[in-house]
Amino acid sequence: MNALGNDIVDLDHVKEGSDPFYKRFNSHVFTAPEFSRFRMQIENPRDRWALWAIKESAYKSSVKLGNRNRFNPKSMEIASLDCSGKEMSAVVRFGNSEITATCAVEAEYIYATSFIAPNNFISRILTNSSTDYYTQSSLVYTAAIEQLSQLKNFDISQLSIKKDSNQVPGFYLDNNLLEVDLSITHHGHFSAYIFGT
């Protein structure tokens, strides 16, 4: 288990707030050490959402490592951040665990992925005309199932995706859970999946 996580932010669907709004937002999302280390990024609207996506993605990884709390952004702390490459890379601390995350900041969306070790995985972003939750879920589930079916030569009619009691999605073949690490995200007009290969 590589504890894969992902998170996508549709930049057209984030709240446009005033400076006082984001001051309060930031105070709920970032810890004092994060303010100290990454103030420049926190005060930049796009980078702020990138840090958010990194935390949310790392949270999904943390659930696979046993975290049973709801997402509280301040329970995850970004310990280091490298913005020198094409994608941001970060190390996020949760308890005694360290989760690595990368984040692409594009014109329309921000996409973060997280993992324990950089093993092989497939990640794909989809654009949806609908923002309806179930329509998006259906589209991203279908796309992930099709890709896994092609990759592993599974009978597509026997494949499905279900979430467990912790809301972690998993692939099922003929109703048997497969040992394939999977994470799914959607927001606004975008959705994405990542799974281990």
């Binding site: 709801r70 509280n72 939750y133 179930y134 927001h187």
Partner: protein
């Protein structure tokens, strides 16, 4: 403010963030914000901020973990307004 009035205010606040309109139409105090109403966790902080503005209260970060359902959100608001 009565609990019924608080429920109506909370419904107004969460409505823009709900992913499942049918679940919202059938909302009860037991409705889970994320699992039932399909509110993206990204919007939980938005809801916290909107509640703070609407009721002129401050919500502790630790309390965010307790805001799992409509009922627990109302309980939290009531405790902060006392």
């Amino acid at each position: 403010m009565t609990r019924e009035a608080l429920l109506e205010k909370v419904k107004e606040i969460i409505k823009p963030y709900v992913g499942d309109g049918e679940a919202f139409d059938n909302l009860t105090e037991a409705s889970d914000l994320i699992n039932d109403l399909k509110i993206n966790s990204a919007h939980v902080v938005d809801i916290v901020l909107d509640i703070e503005s609407e009721f002129d209260i401050m919500i502790d970060d630790d309390a965010i973990n307790d805001m799992t359902t409509v009922a627990s959100s109302i309980d939290l608001i009531q405790s902060k307004m006392e």
